[in-house]
Assembly symmetry: C2
Homo-oligomer: 210 residues x 2
């Protein structure tokens, strides 16, 4: 389709998405200090004025970028094909999906924001609800993918531990490539989790997919 045939609204949506994705990439690769509105606009190939028309401050742009990417990751988890099987292999596939969803570029970008927010109460009060919303969404999806009942406090704590582990693994990958070691840790924990959880019921998990 020629560019002229794309409705204006779609073009502006695509531009917004491109800008927000660029913001995340800039944060992850160049850090907070470098990632000014001007820098991100330049990297995105959009005029600084156009960006500032929508986002008056770096904080506003970056919070919108985090919100957008958190939503994308949640959608990615929703789109995961049912891992199939049961027992340890199923649990391993789900844990691997969760670790992937929590880690990577988005984590590295979010880490930059958390670190600045740790010393800036105003940014912190904006970031905490975003982060909490994302964490709740991931927890909810983990429960569904595993086909378990997290009204059982023991099950709930094990799912939380799995997500805390995923964040610890994401952190270990920030300064060096930790993928090989991570694979072994994910395997060891998945075996434990599979042994600890009441047998996952793939049929029920499947019925609850949407």
């Amino acid at each position: 389709m020629a560019d002229g045939a794309v409705p204006k609204q779609d073009r502006s949506r695509a531009t917004r998405r491109h800008l927000l994705e660029t913001a995340i990439r800039c944060l992850a690769n160049h850090g907070w200090e470098t990632s000014t509105v001007g820098f991100i606009a330049a990297e995105a190939g959009i005029s600084r004025g156009a960006v500032q028309h929508h986002f008056r401050t770096r904080e506003a742009l970056i919070l919108a970028a985090l919100e957008h990417m958190f939503a994308e990751r949640a959608a990615l988890l929703d789109a995961l094909p049912d891992p199939g099987g049961s027992g340890p292999e199923r649990v391993h596939a789900v844990v691997t999906g969760l670790v992937d969803a929590i880690g990577g570029e988005l984590f590295r970008a979010a880490l930059q924001v958390w670190t600045v927010a740790a010393a800036e109460p105003e940014l912190r009060s904006a970031v905490v609800p975003l982060e909490r919303h994302f964490a709740r969404g991931v927890h909810h999806r983990a429960v569904r993918l595993l086909g378990v009942d997290d009204t059982d406090p023991a099950v709930r704590a094990l799912i939380q531990a799995t997500l805390d582990l995923a964040r610890g693994l994401a952190l270990a990958d920030v300064l060096t490539d930790d993928s090989r070691r991570r694979a072994g840790v994910v395997r060891a924990w998945s075996n434990q989790l599979a042994a600890a959880l009441p047998a996952a019921d793939p049929a029920e998990a499947g019925a609850d997919r949407r």
Copy 2:
């Protein structure tokens, strides 16, 4: 003992320790950007010139502070009384000690450094060996405290997972007080770990303490 009676060498060692501890507190509470050599010197009540005589750059001061604090934490783990008992209660006591040693103010300070190092290759290459040395030391102490044999790859991966979990929990505590939730996660994890590890032998762990 009156101040005049303290040998000069001890005084200077005490001043150094005070400076390094202040650097960690500044980083944890005010973040990297604020924690310049001048700011840290002022917070420590030491002249900027005196600090710069020993540490020419912020990076040098902060790396020395991390190294000092990592050594302190390792010593703290060495000084932990034998938790006593066996089975889940023993494992729970050890995991709690590890989570405490990895988290808190030192973690918040280190996080500031990691985050900047993520985008600065020179700082990264100085931080990675420090961090790796600390992580190895904590792993080694975990193995000893639990009285397990980590030449068994399955045991080794579970100890690693426990330390990754501890880092994830430390991260979850940076923006909000997560202590209540953390206690439940540590309990659930410890139960799993106790079930998975070959029965810890307190006598052997005790004999291997030094």
